[in-house]
């Protein structure tokens, strides 16, 4: 082991492993791996619900500040215990199942949703040594798990025997199918250029710095920038987050597929939504933001899981910010954005990535040309397709209200 590698493997970096080995130490050899896996599962099951709890608080606080009000500030110190009060409220509320509902599906829907979204958390590399499940085809596993959650949304919409729920289920299916395509296409260049479907392999492919401060993250290339933008827009839609929260649009569909749910089942839906948001953000960090790698070489003393947490929380904050900023789309606008805008851009991004790959051997003098061509391949289609889509959409004419 070289001196640098020893330094990178500091005690802080290995702390989670040390704690795990301490716990699993007394267990005899053949059983140890089971205990180690159970500990990894327990940690995921402890960290993400806690993150969910405090994320709801952060969301309400941030939304409050953006809307010029304090947000929850009564329970605990400045409202810090609000999530636990909410949890107790949800647990003690009556669980109502409509008489006409399909009781089996009504019960299974939230359970399936939470389990599928938890499954997708398994393959994300949270740190140098922190990969709960290191699969060769991990990326495929992730999207298989998150695609299955659409089924649960449909089950929830169907089981309630409520026309608003059913309408919402239809909308949800249409939306999730439509945005799955750009989501998957935007990550194809990453897989192509890294040459692997394993998340840890993709993080390893983004290692290193140019001149000690320019990280080799995918987002710092023309195709990576476009891919990241497409991925995040599609992720917003996949996680049913504003401005794509049509399936549960409160003002149009009461609460969509959540209409006939109450009590803890209702809370489970929210939990699953936040898990999905965390999983997709974690995948975005892995694919485009260098995973657990430090942004600058001299900052490597901060443990890798710390960097992952910082990146993950910034993306989650971005989700909240977007929710506070953008109004909800209409269903036809939503479809048009997916099929006529994001999908062509994602396909063109494949060409951009191929160009970037083929021009990797160009000398230092040709780098400005390489960057210019790459950025042009991203920007020109964006402007052209965007303009074409927005022609004929003049300023709105108000017939009955004063502008």
């Amino acid at each position: 082991m070289t001196a640098e590698a020893i330094e990178l493997d500091s005690w802080l970096e290995r702390l989670p492993l040390t704690l795990r080995d301490l716990l699993a130490g007394p267990i005899p050899g053949p059983w140890r791996w089971i205990v180690q896996d159970v500990i990894a599962i327990a940690v995921v099951l402890a960290v993400f619900p806690l993150l969910f709890a405090f994320l709801t608080l952060a969301e309400r606080k941030v939304l409050g500040r953006i809307q010029n009000r304090p947000g929850p500030n009564r329970v605990g110190w400045g409202g810090i215990l609000q999530p636990f009060a909410d949890g107790i409220k949800m647990l003690t509320k009556e669980d109502i199942v409509p008489r006409a509902a399909d009781p089996v599906l009504h019960f299974l829907a939230p359970v399936a949703l939470v389990s599928f979204s938890l499954l997708s958390l398994a393959v994300i590399p949270y740190g140098r040594h922190l990969v709960p499940l290191d699969l060769d085809a991990g990326i495929l596993y992730f999207f298989a798990a998150s695609a299955s959650s659409e089924l649960a949304v449909f089950m929830a919409g169907w089981a309630g025997r409520n026309k608003y729920s059913l309408l919402a289920a239809m909308r949800a299916l249409a939306q999730l199918i439509s945005y799955e395509l750009p989501l998957l296409l935007s990550l194809v260049p990453v897989v192509m250029l890294a040459g692997t479907l394993s998340p840890s392999g993709i993080v390893a492919a983004q290692a290193g710095w140019s001149a000690g401060f320019l990280p080799h993250w995918n987002i710092l290339t023309p195709w990576g920038l476009a891919g990241f933008a497409i991925f995040m827009v599609a992720a917003l839609a996949e996680a049913n987050r504003s401005p794509f929260d049509l399936p549960e649009a409160e003002s149009e569909l009461i609460a969509g597929h959540l209409t006939e749910y109450s009590g803890f089942k209702y809370a489970l839906f929210f939990m699953a939504e936040y898990f999905a948001m965390c999983a997709l953000s974690g995948m975005a960090v892995t694919l485009f933001l260098g995973g657990w790698q430090a942004p600058v070489a001299i900052l490597q003393f901060v443990p890798s899981y710390g960097w992952f947490a910082i990146k993950l929380l910034s993306l989650l904050l971005g989700f909240i910010w977007i929710r506070a900023t953008l109004p909800r789309l209409r269903i036809d606008q939503l479809m048009r954005l997916a099929w006529k805008f994001l999908l062509p851009l994602a396909l063109i991004n494949l060409v951009t990535a191929s160009f970037w790959h083929l021009s990797a051997g160009w000398g230092a003098a040709a780098q400005p040309l390489r960057w210019g061509l790459g950025l042009a391949l991203v920007a020109v289609p964006f402007v052209v397709i965007g303009r074409r889509l927005s022609t004929g959409l003049g300023p709105r004419t108000y017939r009955y209200a004063a502008p």
């Binding site: 006409a100 298989a144 695609a147 959409l393």
Partner: protein, 170 residues
């Protein structure tokens, strides 16, 4: 090892059989999806990780959505989701047709000589799978791609032929 295989087989056949016998079409679809997940589990048991996840992604995520969409668009409400039991004539015809297909498949399986397999499970990493698909089997991949593209274009032509509403008006 073989107990797992038997359990998986029973699970797949049982869910598919129940899906066929149920009157409520939505429940049938959901059971069918469960059966597809069973097939994915079988691939996982057989060591074909890639095929298993692709099965879950394509069948569990995409094909199921298409089937559910078809059900939702052709039914008017919850009451309509229950299908009447088939008349005896149709039942007989279905049994005959299904039996014939099952017979052909079974006969083919029985008559096919299988090379004796060693106990060692071959490991095929995804990278090698990709190299095989892009190298020796590139022609098959291209033919499949061309076929799917033709089907997609056909669907677009059919959809575009339908009278479309004026879009974009608020």
């Amino acid at each position: 090892m073989n107990a797992t295989l038997v359990l998986l087989g029973v699970f797949i056949v049982a869910t598919a059989g129940t899906a066929l016998s149920l009157q409520n079409i939505v429940r049938s679809v959901l059971l069918l999806v469960l059966s597809w997940f069973g097939i994915a589990a079988f691939y996982l048991w057989a060591g074909a990780e890639f095929a298993a996840f692709a099965q879950a992604l394509v069948y569990g995520g995409a094909v199921s959505m298409v089937v559910l969409f078809a059900v939702l668009l052709t039914r008017r409400g919850h009451q309509d989701a229950t299908v009447a039991p088939p008349p005896p004539g149709r039942l007989l015809a279905a049994l005959l047709a299904g039996g014939a297909v099952a017979g052909i498949i079974a006969a083919t399986v029985i008559r096919t000589p299988f090379a004796s397999v060693s106990d060692e499970v071959p490991v095929l990493p995804v990278r090698r799978l990709g190299a095989l698909l892009m190298g020796p089997h590139a022609a098959a991949l291209l033919v499949t791609g061309a076929l799917l593209t033709a089907a997609l274009l056909g669907a677009v032509v059919i959809a575009a032929g339908a009278k479309d509403d004026k879009e974009g008006s608020p």
